[in-house]
């Protein structure tokens, strides 16, 4: 049985009460204290791979990873001191020693955990001389670009694919210096081995995995982000539409979304092209004989009002009705029902597809 008692902990001098089984990282987050992480994602089981989140716990000689260490009663934690800072700098320097110096044109610039950490801890890639990968960028599928050179082997992509999506598409393949996340036999991602949910992209802290369709369309900080709800299935996932110059150029995860916590499926994450599709209906159209003619809103609305009024007069108000849709908003559904009951003055209104 897990202990149910409230635990009192002190992090950087702040008192925090923990009711559940919590890690130091979770307790700190609750109190608004930020501990740097690289291999951690709230959607994943604690892993403890990168050691960047190490903290000093009073009475323990070696620093402990905050993301895997549970809090205990009366624990006292210091999230950063000179020693910790130096260790973190070393970890970052090591990562940069096998990393391309490519921030200038990297898709991830401005939204990259590694870049932010290098800046925050004042580390550059010259500290350690290391052998560097020199592998080509892989864009062998419609949605996901993979730049292995930028991979820091945090294992988030492989864990989310196996732990959360349970698709088993990617895993760490190869050995030693050459081990990296990839598909079995390094085949392209296809419909037979991948769900194209993009969860791996959404968790990657660097520019190793990026959304192919959004590449080159703008930096993260240039985008206006609008939080919204998916219009495909009834699960109600939230995400951010990323806009540049009035166009939706990308969808990014909303990690605090109550339903989906940043997870999406192929439709929610990549199914936005239809919004700006060239064949959207752009003006009202009125039929004349066998063809449709463009009309203004006023013409169309006048005609509709006229024709419905005419039918009601000629055949009685029970001969007209409205279909609403389970694709429309609540407000629109409410209005169309109100419309039928107040304007047609009948109850001929139905949700046409009951599926």
């Amino acid at each position: 049985m897990p202990e149910k008692k409230i635990k009192k902990v002190k992090i950087d001098g702040r008192k925090i009460a923990c009711e559940r089984e919590e890690t130091i990282l979770q307790a700190a987050k609750k109190a608004g204290i930020e501990i740097p992480t690289l291999c951690h994602d709230d959607r994943l089981e604690p892993y403890g791979g990168c050691r960047l989140c190490i903290v000093q716990v009073k009475g323990v000689v070696r620093p402990l990873p905050a993301c895997t260490t549970p809090v205990t009663n009366n624990m006292e934690v210091c999230t950063e001191n000179d020693i910790i800072r130096r260790i973190r700098q070393n970890i970052i320097a090591l990562l940069l020693s096998n990393h391309p110096n490519d921030c200038m044109k990297c898709e991830k610039t401005g939204d990259c955990a590694l870049q932010d950490l290098a800046y925050r801890y004042d580390v550059d890639s010259t500290r350690f001389e290391g052998e560097k990968w020199d592998l080509p960028i892989r864009e062998d599928n419609p949605f996901i670009s993979y730049e292995p050179n930028k991979c820091i082997l945090c294992g988030r992509c492989t864990r989310i694919c196996n732990e959360v999506v349970m698709a088993g598409t990617i895993d760490l393949v190869g050995r030693g210096f050459n081990s990296m996340p990839d598909t079995a036999f390094r085949r392209p991602r296809t419909i037979d081995n991948c769900e194209f949910c993009g969860q791996c992209v959404s968790t990657c802290p660097t520019g190793a995995l990026t959304d192919k369709k959004g590449r080159g369309r703008g930096r993260s900080y240039e985008m206006k982000k609008v939080r919204t709800t998916c219009s495909y299935c009834g699960t109600g996932c939230n995400f951010d539409l990323n806009l540049k110059d009035g166009k939706v150029v990308k969808v990014t995860s909303a990690y605090d979304a109550p339903v989906n916590h940043g997870n999406l499926c192929i439709k929610g994450r990549y199914g936005y092209d239809f919004i700006h599709s060239a064949d959207r209906i752009k003006t009202p159209l009125i039929r004349r004989g066998d063809s449709f003619h463009e009309a203004t809103w006023d013409e169309a609305i006048d005609l509709i009002a006229d024709r419905f009024s005419g039918l009601m007069k000629k055949y009685g108000n029970k001969t007209v009705g409205a279909f609403s849709s389970s694709r429309c908003t609540n407000e629109e559904n409410f209005l169309i029902a109100k419309f039928a009951r107040t304007v047609f003055k009948n109850n001929n209104v139905d949700n046409c597809a009951r599926v």
Binding site: I191, I301, E331, A353
Partner: protein, 537 residues
């Protein structure tokens, strides 16, 4: 959702999705969430990795069926027989929850009498599921502590769809598996806002919030708010409007964002009905099969172009936000207001938030919902007042039926409207795949998705493929009593012998030319899940 409404009170899922990982037993019925509801499936997968037992009732060998402890591979259309059979076993073994049945339900004796007819032999015969599996499923589910039944369109898209849902409620009630966290019934539905579209009352017999139009007090409330008399006469369902149109007795329809000419079964008839109308207005973002029949087509605004709310399958009301201006200048809500005003009934709102305020004032279950609150919190209805936190678990003490008791419904096995015979020996099941959506009008415009899944495929078992001498990639002709289509074959063990599967996402090979006209007489839901077809090279 009329099924759950009859048995329990409300036509809605009883719990929240977030409770799923904590259940210890999952009974998945007629639902393929890894394809149709991928994010729900993430919750379910979490439950499985936490050690939950899994029972799957599905004619297809889905991802979940492959990983199940018990797979109930029932014949399409035999849901009621199977559920009655399960309850039969549970009662016989004394696994029912007597206390719960006594204190929280009514109608148990009738149910007991009815399920007595469904002994194991008969159930096996009707469903094709071996006896041992039925017993094991009954044991796992009834002995669970926290058990959820998750069901999908494989339950509702039958001519007995409403009754199927009642039969599911029977099973949960017999075991007392309802009204607690991580314990209840979750219905997974197709389109994004099915829940909201039912809640908000574009229905012939109910006002918003399932308030009956035959109730004079309710009518009075709406008359006061809207300033006109409300007709007490129940209106026509969409199918009935179309039927009457074919007879020349229905003249004009306004269709908002739907494509019945593709997504309805038996589309020939629907198209005939639409072309018999004197006046048809269709508002949509793309040209569809339905717009072809219109007299006026109005451009719709996509979800990125307007403010509003959707209500998801767990009763959670969530915002959509306007990211860009409506491409054609107006969003649907504005257009409806303008037409109403032109026809002599002024409607005016400055913003959809004002419509929500009106909804809240008239709809008790949405009473506490406002855009302002939704900026700060996430709410699941019932949320009757501004200080109510919303409801994650329904029916913790009372069911929302008169008297507060849930009702057992004694039900008979009826089977599908159309069963295979010599001429049409295969059962066609239609459904969804992860990559596409409904009539495909949105997903077929996503280049990458079309690269991955460019066309319809007929899924057929290895045994049947061999029998018909067809192989992967062959083109075949599939025909039913209503029509025929040509489609490419995919041989897979997802299909059991005798059953084939197709989606309805592609107009070039539209399964709805084949699907039958049988419908659930109560909800009007078409029987998409089963019709008899012939397959020829």
């Amino acid at each position: 959702m009329a099924g759950l409404a009859t048995s329990l009170g409300a036509g809605a899922a009883t719990n929240s999705l977030a409770q799923m990982p904590d259940m210890d037993t999952l009974f998945l019925f007629g639902s393929n969430p890894t394809e149709a509801h991928p994010i729900v499936s993430i919750y379910l997968k979490k439950a499985l990795s936490n050690g939950a037992k899994l029972v799957v009732g599905d004619p297809r060998k889905t991802w979940m069926a492959r990983r199940s402890d018990v797979w109930l591979n029932l014949r399409p259309g035999s849901n009621i027989a199977l559920l009655n059979g399960l309850i039969h076993v549970i009662l016989k073994k004394g696994w029912e929850n007597k206390e719960f049945i006594k204190s929280r339900t009514e109608g148990f004796e009738e149910l007991k009498k009815k399920v007595r007819e469904y002994d194991l032999k008969k159930t096996e015969k009707l469903t094709g599921v071996p006896e041992e599996r039925i017993i094991e499923a009954a044991r796992l589910y009834s002995n669970a502590d926290k058990a959820m039944i998750v069901y999908g369109l494989g339950v509702t898209e039958h001519q007995t769809g409403t009754e199927n849902a009642m039969a599911i409620a029977n099973l949960a009630l017999v075991c007392g598996h309802i009204g607690r966290p991580s314990t209840g019934i979750m219905a997974l539905r197709g389109q994004n806002n099915v829940q909201g579209a039912s809640d908000l009352g574009p229905l012939p017999a109910t006002f918003p919030g399932y308030q009956s139009i035959t109730n004079p007090e309710v009518r009075e409330k709406f008359e006061k708010a809207w300033g006109v008399a409300m007709s007490p006469e129940i209106g026509l369902k969409s199918v009935e409007m179309l039927d009457k149109a074919c007879e020349g007795k229905f003249k004009g329809i306004f269709i908002l964002g739907e494509d019945p000419a593709q997504t309805d079964p038996n589309v020939h008839e629907v198209r005939r009905a639409l072309s018999s109308l004197e006046f048809l207005v269709v508002q949509d973002i793309f040209h569809t099969e339905t717009t072809k029949h219109a007299h006026v087509i109005l451009p719709g605004a996509s979800f990125a172009e307007k403010d509003g709310t959707f209500t998801n399958g767990e009763r959670r009301v969530q915002r959509i936000r306007k990211a860009i201006e409506p491409m054609a200048g107006k969003a649907e809500w504005q257009v409806i207001c303008e037409i109403a005003a032109k026809m002599g009934y002024p409607m005016s709102y400055n913003h959809p938030s004002e419509i929500m305020d009106e909804i809240a004032g008239l709809t008790p279950i949405y009473g506490g919902i406002s855009y302002e609150r939704l900026e700060r919190e996430s709410l699941q209805w019932p949320c009757p007042t501004k200080d109510h936190p919303g409801t994650t678990t329904l029916y913790t003490d009372l069911f929302s039926r008169p008297g507060g008791l849930a009702k057992f419904m004694a039900l008979d096995h009826k089977g599908s409207g159309e069963v295979p015979d010599k001429k049409f020996p295969y059962v066609l099941i239609t459904g969804r795949i992860r990559e596409h959506y409904n009539n495909g009008s949105m997903t077929r415009r996503v280049k990458g998705i079309m690269e991955l899944v460019p066309e319809e495929l007929l899924e057929i078992s290895h045994a049947d493929a061999k029998k018909l001498r067809i192989k992967d990639g062959d083109m075949v002709k599939v025909s039913s009593r209503r029509g025929e289509i040509k489609v490419k074959v995919k041989v897979t063990d997802r299909s059991q012998p005798g059953n084939v599967f197709m989606t309805f996402h592609f107009p070039e090979a539209l399964s709805n030319f084949l699907t039958s006209e049988h419908r659930d007489p109560i909800a009007g839901t078409p029987e998409y899940k089963s019709c008899a077809v012939r397959i020829e090279k």
